[in-house]
Symmetry: C2
Subunit: 368 residues, 2 copies
């Protein structure tokens, strides 16, 4: 078994003493490691890890934003295909993305962990390395608290606090008929990455640089933090959401909240270069991946036609982020449609939802 | 099978149409129920459920407090012995208790749920009934957001936001040598309840009123919200913690954070009347239940000897809560001890921790 002997050579400690497990170091030991790994709290943190609650100062002229999102083992990630660093990065990134989608700045996070007792402690260390890497990349999110509990599988449940000036807050419900639909970056990259993560044969059929980029997007999403903040500051964005569940579903959420319909032009969608070759190799529809695939964490927003030039110009200048107009909001009665080659169809049920109703197409939940 | 036919009579709908499951109503259906069940947001909530994040106003002169604590099925509760209303109540109560232990007031909660697809939807309805009941009992905690994810077992992970005037904040680290150790209410009731919940034979040996009170304490803890706030307002409390993991462990945490030791007088402990008969029936040591048993959610705090009369008088007058002096903080070198019948022993490892180190006595984790 050459594989085993290679591993043994690479980790000689393994034969001397087995890797300690969560149950070996106990809650107090784990808490000490986590406190150390969380890094120093910021100057606005009055009480950090190690008391009944954390305590922070919120600037008097800002609203406090708060959101929570969890990664569940074998639902959102697999320990076989994601490193703990990836999981930590992603757990923080997806929450920071929600703050950005309100026009806000992420500030502090609580990390609620559920861990099986036989989980290697190095996995928790890796998780915190990933959390810290994203915290630093986001301009300094403080890891100021959390909770530890035992469970059958790993759950990383993050609560993120942020803030925003009241006038810069962007909700979902302000899109008006005639507004333009704009999306940052490209679509479908993370969905392509999920296909490639799950199937080595398909991955070998895709150009390696493209494949690596797709897989990286799935493992370590890059939320549009600067872009969200700048878009809020323009005070011209009428509605915004981050693309976690796919364009179709998330655009539908803006429409539902705003009481409007939408007409998307398929030809204008910024489909990621990874998508076509992945779709071809996997015998999937490229448009389905781009429209229905989740986890791109791009920003989707509504702009008045008169504001588009100035807002997209500022976005590009200040954050090097391109925004592409992909359609227009229409009266609710006209529904939510996508036009492709002159034919129009409903935006439909693309995108991934938890607890899909029974009878939905099998496999629709992908590997999440 | 008489049991089955009794159930069929009690729930005639079952033969007509089976109780819907989480997977039947889907994420959107569940979200609609939850939004309805969460009740109206308060006046300080700018954005509630249904956007990327919630947004709240924090009064300019207050610190923001934040904490998170989870209940995991088959670790912290069993669906067989706790109703969903109990679980909802407790999930909110244990977080509110942490806010009270800082001298603060609980304000807003996010509820992050992990649910198995085959969970009956009525269970989620019951959970929210319990959450709401506690939210109302706590003087109006707003349920302003959360998350839904799929998992193998139920997890209810609550994040609680609160606030406090900076001068009223009470941490763990301010106890000084010579300070009195004070505890509210009684000790061991919830631990007795856990023993009785798990064993009907033992329960039948305990006087029914006492047994019911113990079980209620375990299922629906009553956090000392008013007492925590008043104690903070006195500005005389030097350190405080809520009793979630048992007197021994939680008092040890104050000592560790404050750099002191402690000497507890066993004869002065306010052992709950449920404890003696339960311990006798279960052949357990009553003092172990009172000192090592968790989940009483009483407040444990440090007072300068000169402040005790005024503070405990005000506590009693304003919140009808009695505080009992159970010992005194001593120099760290003298360690943490409990004195019983003239003999002194280490406060030791009573209380329950997650991920107990291997080799710890089996069964020490109780039914949690």
């Amino acid at each position: 078994m050459p594989r085993v002997s290679r591993r043994a050579r690479a980790r000689p400690r393994r034969t001397a003493a087995p890797d300690p497990r969560v149950a070996d170091v106990g809650e107090l030991g784990l808490l000490a490691r986590i406190t150390e790994a969380s890094g120093p709290p910021g100057p606005d943190v009055v009480v950090g890890i190690g008391d009944d609650t954390a305590a922070v100062r919120v600037p008097a002229d800002r609203l406090s934003l708060v959101t929570t999102d969890a990664l569940v083992e074998d639902v959102h990630f697999r320990r076989r295909t994601s490193t703990p660093e990836d999981v930590g990065w992603k757990a923080l990134a997806i929450n920071a993305s929600d703050i950005a989608a309100m026009g806000g700045r992420p500030r502090h996070a609580l990390v609620s962990l559920m861990l099986p007792p036989d989980l290697p402690v190095v996995w928790v260390d890796g998780l915190y390395a990933g959390l810290r890497a994203m915290a630093v990349a986001a301009g300094g999110i403080g890891l100021i608290g959390g909770n530890l509990a035992q469970a059958e599988c790993v759950v990383v449940d993050v609560t993120m606090l942020g803030d925003v000036a009241p006038g810069c807050l962007v909700r979902r419900d302000g899109a008006r008929v005639g507004d333009l639909v704009v999306v940052t970056g490209t679509l479908g990259r993370a969905a392509a990455g999920l296909v490639l993560l799950d199937n080595t044969m398909i991955r070998n059929m895709v150009e390696p640089t493209l494949a690596a980029r797709a897989v990286a997007a799935q493992r370590r999403p890059q939320p549009r933090l600067g872009a969200g903040r700048v878009l809020g500051e323009t005070r011209a964005v009428r509605a915004m959401i981050d693309l976690s569940d796919g364009l179709a579903l998330d655009l539908g959420r803006i429409c539902e909240a705003s009481g409007v319909g939408v007409r998307v032009d398929a030809a204008r969608l910024p489909v990621d270069p990874c998508v076509l070759p992945t779709a071809a190799a996997a015998r999937l529809d490229a448009l389905d991946l781009a429209v229905g695939g989740g986890e791109d964490y791009e920003l989707l927003f509504a702009l008045g036609p008169g504001d588009a030039g100035a807002v997209l110009g500022r976005l590009e200048r200040e954050t090097d982020t391109s925004g592409v107009v992909i359609g227009r909001f229409v009266p609710r009665e006209e529904g939510c449609t996508i036009v492709r080659d002159g034919a129009s169809r409903a935006l439909g049920e693309g995108g991934w939802t938890h607890f899909r109703r029974r009878g939905a197409r099998p496999g629709a939940e992908g590997g999440r």
